[in-house]
Amino acid sequence: MKPLWHKLTEMIGRTQKVWYVALLILVLVFPGMTTSYWTDVAFFFGLYILLGLSLNIIVGYAGLFNLGHAAFYAVGAYTTAILNTVLGIPVLYLLPISALAAAFFAYLITKPILHLRGDYLAIVTIGFAEIVRISLINNIGGLTGGPNGLLGISRPELFGMRLYTPTHFYYLVWFLVIMVILAMVRLEDSRLGRAWNYVREDELAAEAMGIDATRTKMLAFVVGSALAGVAGNIYAAKMTMIAPESFGFWESVVIFSIVILGGMGSIPGVVVGAFGMVVWPEIFRGFAEARMLIFGAAMVLMMLFRPQGLWPSPRARRAMESQKKSRPSAKAGTA
């Protein structure tokens, strides 16, 4: 673990190290400070950070408007559930397999639709996600258990320890969250990460630079879906029962909102977004009835007054700032 720690500190830099270490300690001791209820809330917070980060690759980095992310999440969860209940393969062994299954599924369905733009892509992804959900309900291949879903998924085991308490799952998910955030920070500043941004900014120009836009967009879907598959695996392990109703359009909207709320393409934005979507409502349980109403209004208001999100990526922030400065019109070229 030492080289990793080195890299970690190296990446964060000296002055910030203190804060990150404090944060890490807090994450480590949190379950000890509180009840199993809040530990579970923190578990779901972590789970939705994973889901948000996974969609952030597709929506935030590559600019692909995916409103059917729950489908990939579902594929991960069902892969785990089916292979565990039918073949008895231990849940944690299925983690990479669920990721692969979701990635493969993404590879298959996104291939023909990548040329679609903006809202059209959004509609197609909604359509695919609905088809997935309906197929699960109709018990395709007799494997998905129909509307009942699948029951009796076994508890994961790690180093001979059976994971079942909220605290166990809390550590499992937050370990993954930290690992994935580290991976994302690195990816953002890599050749692939930039390629995603180029395609988002201007697909044609990216192609002219020799970037295979189709492949790059596909990779965004594949990587993002793989991560959603991981989240699905954890979810199945935690719940021990999954059903199609957990993977409907609404779930996609929630994940999408996490990305938009925080700021597209921003890792801290995803964390803030997940906090807003998962933890905030738990703190304010009283407004249950009007919760969705407020949420809808917030979405509109966000677009009107803070379209870059609550915690935009440095890039988006710079873009907003430079918009305020006067700048020469790019249209001059045609005049």
């Binding site: 002055t15 910030q16 804060w19 509307p147 009942n148 935690k238 999954i242 933890v279 738990e282």
Partner: protein, 380 residues
């Protein structure tokens, strides 16, 4: 990035401070949780749970409580969502409940049941009928609803026997409960030698059943058995009659609701039959009558569905166990419910549990809609 770390720290701190909730030990009142979808698509059902349980608890408290201790009801809204169900269950456990009535749908009950089992909390669901729930060997898990197979058997016997139907069409709505009931009914119908000439699902929330019914009309069944909910059941019945389908219309217990008749229209609903637990007005138990009267007096309307009554029974069973064992120890309570309690006078009929926690016996009856648009006991 430094700012990020700082803000996150503050957020997590705030979170932790909020989190330092109450860890309540055996204080004076006995805490009983009620969990269900108080908001969301099944809000009606969850609200029914809460109302029934709250009303009964207040009545008991007015009479001095159980064993001299007051009952405190703690409600948890799970929206019918398994994630929320987990959180609600954790919260109820943290708040020190002795027993929980609830979770409406099986997908919410499942993850909650594991938490209650690990925490040693008595758990009675009024409405989750998935068979697998009682297969996990939890000794403190019970249900006051019948498994789908009981009603399926009754419906199959009723349709083939009493109605003398040979060709039967089955329609469900692809929800856990309706699909289960349809599957069981099909099994028993085939055992009894009837022919299932049509078996298909409609989609909840759908309004146009023309395509399904046109196909159904072609096979001309003697009876149609619909296992879904009243909101679609009423429409299905109306559209079937509009299309000139005259087969006897039989519907499952989720159609035991006045809106079933209202949506179909009295003219169409007349002669339709439902299979259900005894409807309150038809039960001889004074408990049932009293419950219905009290409920109506207090909330100004009839209980929204059979599950409300089942929730009331779940609560009454819990109270009975606490009263009889003079204890709140889950082993004693569970043991009492498994082994000692026989034919407890429930609102939905006599209640006895088997070793798995499932309810024994069958109490289903058939009711027919009369000319005034009321359910009355079916008689030849």
């Amino acid at each position: 990035m430094k700012k990020f770390a700082l803000v996150m720290l503050v957020l997590v701190m705030a979170f932790a401070v909020t989190a330092c909730g109450s860890k309540d030990d055996a204080a004076d009142p006995i805490k009983i949780g009620v969990q269900g979808p108080i908001s969301g698509q099944w809000a009606l059902e969850g609200t029914g749970f809460v109302r029934a349980v709250t009303m009964l608890a207040e009545e008991i408290n007015a009479d001095g409580g159980i064993n001299g201790r007051e009952i405190q009801i703690i409600q948890g809204d799970d929206k019918g969502d398994p994630k929320e169900a987990t959180l609600v269950a954790q919260r109820l456990v943290n708040q020190g409940v002795v027993a929980v009535v609830g979770a409406y749908n099986s997908t919410a009950t499942e993850p909650a049941s594991a938490i209650y089992n690990e925490a040693g909390v008595l758990h009675v669901t009024p409405s989750s009928t998935a068979t697998g729930l009682t297969e996990k060997g939890y000794d403190q898990f019970f249900r006051t609803c019948f498994l789908d197979d009981r009603q399926g058997l009754f419906a199959a016997e009723f349709m083939t026997g009493t109605l003398g139907a040979k060709k039967i069409a089955l329609i469900h709505d692809n929800t856990t409960y309706a699909k289960g009931l349809a599957d069981w009914t099909k099994i028993y119908l085939e055992e009894l030698g009837a022919e299932v000439v049509f078996f298909d699902a409609i989609v909840p929330g759908e309004r146009e059943f023309g395509p399904t019914l046109t196909r159904l009309k072609n096979v001309n069944p003697d009876a149609i058995y619909f296992t879904g909910y009243f909101s679609e059941g009423g429409l299905l019945l109306k559209q079937a009659r509009d299309m000139g389908i005259t087969s006897t219309f039989v519907a499952g217990n989720a159609n035991n609701n006045a809106d079933f008749i209202e949506i179909a229209g009295i003219q169409n609903a007349k002669g339709a039959i439902i299979t259900t637990e005894p409807i309150p007005t038809d039960i001889d138990y004074p408990e049932a009558r009293k419950f219905i009267d009290d409920y109506q007096a207090r909330y100004g309307e009839m209980p929204p569905s059979i599950w409300t009554l089942s929730a009331a029974d779940a609560f009454r069973v819990v109270v009975e166990a606490i009263e009889k064992t003079q204890s709140t120890d889950k082993d004693k309570l569970a043991n009492y419910l498994h082994n000692t309690m026989k034919d407890f006078p429930g609102i939905t009929g006599p209640i006895t549990f088997d070793e798995k926690g499932d309810r024994l016996g069958t109490v289903h009856r058939a009711y027919i809609v009369n000319e005034k648009g009321e359910f009355v006991p079916y008689s030849n």
